[in-house]
Symmetry: C2
Subunit: 688 residues, 2 copies
Amino acid sequence: MTPRISRREFLSAVAISSTASVLPRGAYSAAIEDAGAIPDISSHAPSLSWQDQGVLNLANSPYAKLHSVPVRAVTIEEGFWSKRRKTNVERSIPSMRLQLEQHGRMENFRRLVGKSSAEQQGPVFSDSDIYKWSESVGWALQSESFPELRGFADSMIREVVAVQEPSGYLNTYYQGERARERMLQHSQEVGHELYCLGHMLQAGVAYYRATGDSTLLDAGMRFVDKFVLPNYGPGPNQTPIISGHPEIEMALIELHRTTGKHQYVELAGYILEGDSRWKIDPKRIIYMFCGIPFTTRTKLEGHAVRAMYACCGAADYYLETGDAAYWKSLNVLWDDLIRRQMYITGGVGARSQWEAFGDSYELPNAQAYGESCAAIGNMMWNWRMLAASGEAKFTDVIERALYNGINSGMSLNGTTYCYRNPLAFDPASGDTIRNPWYDVTCCPPNLERTFASLPGYFYSTSKDGLYVHLYDNSRLEWHLEDGTPLSLRQQTKYPWDGDVALTLTPKKPSAFTLHVRIPGWARNAAIKVNGNPQTGVEAGEYFGIRRDWKPGDTVLLNFPMETEIIASNPRVVEDRGRVAVRRGPIIYCMEELDQSPGVALADASLTMSERLGKEFESEYKSDFLDGVVVLHHRGGVFETSSAEEALYSPATLTAPKLRPEDFTMIPYYVWANRQPSAMQVWTPYVRA
Amino acid sequence: MTPRISRREFLSAVAISSTASVLPRGAYSAAIEDAGAIPDISSHAPSLSWQDQGVLNLANSPYAKLHSVPVRAVTIEEGFWSKRRKTNVERSIPSMRLQLEQHGRMENFRRLVGKSSAEQQGPVFSDSDIYKWSESVGWALQSESFPELRGFADSMIREVVAVQEPSGYLNTYYQGERARERMLQHSQEVGHELYCLGHMLQAGVAYYRATGDSTLLDAGMRFVDKFVLPNYGPGPNQTPIISGHPEIEMALIELHRTTGKHQYVELAGYILEGDSRWKIDPKRIIYMFCGIPFTTRTKLEGHAVRAMYACCGAADYYLETGDAAYWKSLNVLWDDLIRRQMYITGGVGARSQWEAFGDSYELPNAQAYGESCAAIGNMMWNWRMLAASGEAKFTDVIERALYNGINSGMSLNGTTYCYRNPLAFDPASGDTIRNPWYDVTCCPPNLERTFASLPGYFYSTSKDGLYVHLYDNSRLEWHLEDGTPLSLRQQTKYPWDGDVALTLTPKKPSAFTLHVRIPGWARNAAIKVNGNPQTGVEAGEYFGIRRDWKPGDTVLLNFPMETEIIASNPRVVEDRGRVAVRRGPIIYCMEELDQSPGVALADASLTMSERLGKEFESEYKSDFLDGVVVLHHRGGVFETSSAEEALYSPATLTAPKLRPEDFTMIPYYVWANRQPSAMQVWTPYVRA
């Protein structure tokens, strides 16, 4: 059950790859045929044309149970995500381009071809910002043509590939005066060369899947084929590889899925295994989440984004190889995520220091790091776990992260971003949570590529039918795996309301299974098929409806949208004695500015009765924060503010006196969109 | 009320000082007379000989209400502190010398005189480790002659002064190849040159007060007089000064107190004011706690040790100048300390990241930094505030830090040290809390100098009599400020028992006030003078007993040693719903290894009744952890371990089921002296 090829076999694959032709622009289809001629990997040549490849192209991934649907097959209509996605393409992506220009990220490229005399600007991984931005455009172009964005991206890509060296190397930080430092152990550990390459490949893939234009993809592949594969790897004459910041692993596997060349999978496997020839500081092994066999990992630790991206790469590797040791490790790590490391918002990474996971159950609120990129990495990892298993528990994490810890990362106006996504905030801390620019600007374009690719996460196909993962007004125009064309329409006010109407229109009556996701929170969910109630519906599962589907068949889903009070494990020390409030997939918070003047959140308590959750009234406000359901609750605040009390005093058993107060709660994701104000997700409670 | 001299006056003082002779070894008294000849500062020439100078020499400090008693005047007898202090001189100080040698800290000096070919070793501030170690020896020699330690220290000091340049400069990191980098803005900000000089001066002062040998003090003074004063300062031809890591300020003022030269006070004032000619990153202004006028500070922030040392320097400056703006700022900062920033152990500095103060009320337990040096800085600051005011609230902080957050810093065997002093611990975190060596080894010798100088903190004199600050078996042989010789004997089992017997033996019957400290926690304290109960005794005050004291008069103090349950302000999020347990000055904790097998601290709750505190039984165990009072308590643990529970789940109002368990608590300061085990100070509670 370990189908990874041996080191010797890998070396022969390398020998082949280093002579394989790189793809000239426009000659992509021919090259794919050419790739198909490489021994032993012909079975993996992609069968889908560029237009038909999804967020991941899993069509030929032998261990994928679910297969992606292309972004362009799904149209998200007016509803919850439409405004966000419109803002993304109209404001976020364009303004980020200007920011990248203003901060010299493109000058770094121009400098190398004599078009700029500016110094190298930004951190060592600045090229990746350009790639993530280009990737955003790539996904956006799959939903709609944006001629201006395309023009900018085309031109950016031309400027990027112009600096590629004949060796295939391309990294503005390590070209020019720092050329001698490239790919040394130190620069591999901290220099993000392969991380930038990974993002170049992902951008190239997205852009190719959008446009058929493989210019950037070719450059990335050239980098891999000409520079990396011949010189770096396990061979006695090769220099070891350490990815430093995992990213290259999943990018290489997607490159394989795009080109059919299996050596990229082998290279990813070698990187995931770690090369023991290099002695690496054990603390860096933890921090980097690479450098030792992935399959020896038993807990999430170190830099959160690195860990999430490593898990993505490992899951991708499993999808291609079926390596049981990987699947086992991935599930051990996932249990650690779910049981001890994930914020209720789907954010991960507790510590600002090293942007890292904390100890088990270390989930501070105000001090939470919860980097937007890490929440995105969490979604990406779970998307791969879902593809491998078809299990709804992974989709629950995707939904949790997407609606909360990711969605919070971009302001409603689309031009400021969270790097940290804390679960409590006091403006007295002096932090500015949303900013238009960070010198380490990984999060903004990461958010942009996520929202741009979102349609690709709504559905999957499987051998037996279709999976519905996410709910929003949308249309799917695609086909079953047997080729039968199918359209599906969703009509819903989700996540504000739990009714979802699906209308299926297969081209011809067909027997297949429609797997509809019942969110983990949706107890007492109900399903009707053409008006007939279904039995056996379980929260946190896909409910499979196998029948002969005819055009116009309807499925009505009802997910009771009740306000629920959530407690955390008592080992989460900051949440003990506090509760969080959830309604559907939305986690709520309180912002001080929504409360009566003079009410300090630090002095607030909710009032919990035996009617748990019923103490809240929900109200949809269309003109408030782009349209949200707010919750109203009668709680209490200390009669004497705790700010007046001593830090330590003799305990008493008499609770401090409270006076009743009406509280308003808003979805967490819209916090910090007005003037700075205190915020908290977890609030103390008293019994009614 | 702002007696600081003007900038112009300061410059003229500088001109004088730069021509003042440095002190050749042995010629110290003459030099002091010489210093007395400098205009305007003659009134400040020290009146006490070296043997009679205390931890601080406040004899001539115009704004000191209390005056130090020399370390040698106080003998700590068999009791609470004797074992610790014996271990300190017999094991800690000697083993630290070996560690310093093994880690090349003296090689750095030898290298510069051609006696070593080793590379520079250790961080930029490594010289200070040598100075703090020498200072420890200096204080130790004031209690007892330790010929071997003295020999080592003498020889170390000879090796130190041998590298001093004719210019007066002395810093092994910036001599040799880095000479051109010295005292640039960057090196002043991060290079710790003046920090090392400050520690050289403090060591020189301690060693001089122990031995009369001014070799090291002379070298330090030469550095100040020849190198610093002429070249650095506010003058148009002088380079600005930023202390970078405050320390030089208090050292300069103690140099003034030792030599009578007032220009050192002026220099300290200039440094405390900050030199606006240099543009400093605002984040570094926060971090360094210097670079802007100290009197503009309104909260504790940035690097905790830097902040504490800056406050020490500012308090010292106030003691010499009476500058009201300083006293006001110091009190604002002290309120911030007490109300929002101090751990119950007296530790300060919440964050590992930047070793810094957190936001207000940010006092995590497991993640607490609570650097030993910061708790020591806290004690040093409060010692100065006490001297300026005579107010017991400052002594309460000294006692809190000394018995808990400082005392925890050294293992019972004296050879391993805490850098962090967290208030909760899980060995699964992988942290090793006590270590024999840190490459940044500031804390170990800081602890050593503190324990060595401890007798100097027991008593002070004032115009009207004597203050008793700390309680332990001890003898004072000193005199009142009118010159009347006085001995005082303390007999007590403090802190395990609250009875203290004081026997006073003035050489002749004398009218004076004996100020005995009633600890802030000692409600219902009682005092008898020669058997007569006193009235008006208040906790948290000095109780002044003015009478004609005759030889053999006795004062019996009784501080009811009750176990008290402490709650924190609800704004401390980790402590909400939890309590701490205190008995006298001792803060208690639970270590998992003292509980029944299988009991996880994370699942433990105390049981609180209306008899708050009476639910604990105390037991003195002489053969346990060097002799401690342990507390026994019947609490409870979850029937189902929280480790088995989900991270988030729907809240219920029914409390988890507990099964009764007998708990054992130990003083916080002895934690982590056995095998690694979970520990916590703050424990959840349920009502009985």
